[in-house]
Symmetry: C2
């Protein structure tokens, strides 16, 4: 099986790396950004091109959602399998006479952060059983956690991930902005943050809720509002409102 | 040194447990909720009372913020040290002729979740050097991470913790609500959540941001808004707005 990875961003980098580490042969990484491609190519010892797409049996498109359709048109081969890695796009976004599929890794990828690939859930959607078998076999070399998912379900998986990961990380950014403003080292908060996450491995998040909003401590809520402004104040109000709604306070 | 813990909630339970585990002798746990007190008393083998406060050198008040003042009036002894454990109250909230102090553990406490006490940062504020020495010595038996903090600074530490812990946990609750609605096991998201937190041990949260808002992916943002309603939709809008403001998108 000849495989080409398309893209040079965070997902492309980590998928390529995960494949190399698990001895899944790659014939090429292809994309538009030659500088990024050459870095990945050099680190992982895979040929790259920004001009000529190699012939392959499987193309995995790892580019941002709004480029998937356009990039997919570059694949003129007919008898091959093409997968995109988007959480929200249908496999039908792919334009070509090949077999279409989705290969969605549920993780947050940054080039500068190493990852344990074995634990990443992969969600797979294909046109037929044979393609499903192909993608399951490949994903299972990378991860212990490979599943099927329809497009409908995948949209909700992605949406849940936005809350549980992207928004959580943004709260860390806003939290750090507050502690930075008072010259309080953000490191102080790491044990608390670790415990916040440890907790939900054992307790339902709804039962783990602590803090002034769930205690309905109006004095503290008012005090905090006086310390905040702009976006952080908006977040503060909306989150407290949502907490109090959830617990019917 | 004779020490009494006042309270029977999450903080009182864990402070008592941390003291017992580190062989800091306690003469009593005191509070209003006899049922909870008797459970803690039985588990940790410390006498309890809801009626007669024992004589002690140090009283640590671990009750919710709006009860601290009232409870502090029960301590009629003059030559003793009293500490509260609130993140937002000044030590002057304590009403009595004793020496006043603050003993603030930066952590999220739930009775049903065990904790590694050694890593909890403790922030201490006292009226004089001698009391500071007393509280530092005690806290240092529990934790490797004991510091001084003014009331002004402590307010911001607490506020940062609300963002980094309380709000983060609420995002997990709302995330789980979404995945539950589609019968997607929340366990799927634990590797992603773990990685989200692992990341900020190594990278600044601002550099670790991923997701549709920071990519300014309008199609996905609109799609997600259609899948959401009520409080989750409000959170979605405010968080994306805040992300886009932070990255000037």
């Amino acid at each position: 099986m000849q495989i080409v990875i398309i893209g040079s961003g965070n997902v492309a980098y980590h998928i390529t790396k995960a494949f190399v580490f698990n001895k899944i042969p790659l014939v090429q990484i292809f994309g538009r950004n030659e500088k990024e491609l050459s870095k990945i190519s050099e680190e992982l010892n895979i040929p790259f091109s920004s001009e000529k797409l190699e012939d392959a049996d499987l193309y995995i498109i790892c580019v941002s959602d709004n480029s998937v359709e356009e990039i997919s048109k570059l694949i003129s081969k007919k008898n091959c399998l093409v997968a995109h890695t988007s959480g929200s796009l249908p496999k039908e976004i792919l334009v070509g006479e090949y077999r279409k599929s989705s290969f969605y890794p549920l993780q947050t990828f940054s080039k500068s952060k190493e990852l344990e690939y074995k634990k990443i859930p992969f969600f797979i959607e294909t046109e037929n059983e044979e393609d499903k078998k192909i993608l399951f076999e490949i994903a299972s070399k990378v991860s212990e956690n490979v599943m099927e998912s329809t497009h409908e379900k995948r949209k909700y998986i992605h949406l849940t991930a936005v809350f549980a990961c992207n928004f959580v990380n943004h709260l860390f950014s806003r939290a750090k902005e507050i502690s930075d403003s008072q010259e309080i080292p953000f490191d102080y908060f790491l044990p608390l943050i670790d415990e916040t996450v440890q907790k939900i491995h054992e307790i339902e998040p709804k039962s783990a809720q602590t803090g002034p909003a769930v205690r309905n401590d109006k004095r503290v809520l008012e005090l905090h509002e006086q310390l905040l402004k702009d976006e952080s104040l908006e977040i503060y109000k909306v989150m407290n409102h949502s907490i109090q709604k959830m617990y019917e306070l």
